[in-house]
């Protein structure tokens, strides 16, 4: 696991974060539920909580689907290529490429992964939320924070590398027995909370 330069994180005074969807996207409840599940995965192993709010402007985390140049200097490139990006704390912006074929259940066990250009939405959401919370990319291929994903594949379960990283920033979930271990910088690589495996 890694962090952004300077190790930015959400302050301890604001661990109950709100999130909202860009109103112009008019997302359905089933799409919004994907993001809710993705947030739950990080909440399960940290003291952070995530609550949807209707107010996009005041939300801590702002989620939107956009195509091409959408004004942040990081234009999307159409189908495939870059899929999404999110900014480090406490910026809160999370953008997804509106030109992708997003699937709500990307389990492609019955298909050849190379035969489709579909991208599993929840897999990307879990990854980008990691960035919103302060994690950078990881070289551990099994981790959520590994930078690439194969089309037609699904990876949504936090690996021990992800959990160790996020718990260095925020500590474990005080309400969960399975994630009570909190790692420090000195302990990295030697401690495994075992949560979510």
């Amino acid at each position: 696991y890694t962090f952004f330069p300077g190790t930015p994180k959400w302050p301890s005074s604001n661990l109950d974060l709100t999130y909202a969807f860009f109103p112009g996207n008019q997302l359905t409840d089933s799409v919004k539920a994907i993001f809710s599940r993705a947030f739950d995965r990080w909440a399960a192993v940290t003291p952070l909580t995530f609550t949807e709010t209707a107010s996009f402007s005041s939300a801590d985390l702002k989620i939107g689907f956009f195509s091409g140049d959408h004004g942040d200097g990081e234009p999307f490139d159409g189908q495939m290529g870059t899929l999404a990006h999110a900014f480090s704390p406490t910026n809160g912006h999370f953008h997804l490429d509106g030109d992708e074929n997003w699937v709500l259940d990307g389990d492609s066990s019955s298909l050849t992964s190379s035969s489709t250009s579909a991208i599993d939405l929840e897999s990307v959401a879990v990854h980008e939320i990691g960035h919103l919370l302060g994690l950078g990319h990881s070289s551990v291929e099994e981790s959520i924070m590994f930078p690439t994903i194969s089309s037609g594949s699904k990876k949504i379960v936090l690996a021990s590398d992800d959990i160790q990283g996020i718990q260095v920033l925020y500590g474990g979930n005080p309400n969960s027995n399975s994630s009570s271990t909190t790692t420090t910088g000195e302990e990295r690589g030697t401690s495994d909370s075992g949560a979510y495996s």
């Binding site: 992708e100 709500l104 259940d105 070289s139």
Partner: protein
Amino acid sequence: HFFPNITSIPPSFLPNATTGAWNAFHNFAGCHPGEKVDGLAKLKQYFNRFGYIPNSPSNFSDDFDDALESALKEYQLNFNLNTSGVLDESTLQQIVRPRCGVADIINGTSTMNSGKAASLTTGHFHTVGH
């Protein structure tokens, strides 16, 4: 475009799977330092985009120069590939995969394997903390 599952995607949406944004990079298979190949500038733009070539000139050349070789080796290290500095098939397969738009190297700080201490990545050195 949202679909409940993969099988619900209309066939007309699928042919684009072979025309991804970076699929043309497969044409560079086997390229090595010292060569000049049409289109290699776009690969340099890719590495610049994700932080492996830090400074962006007004336009990149098609030369397989030192900057590209260095970027390629750092990429291969980060993605657990053979750090050959050559555009082998396994490296290209990784490069063309869809990915997150956040750079792997930010403000010159490499965060993945290449930014870690040798003792953590190779196991060849034994260190004692003081």
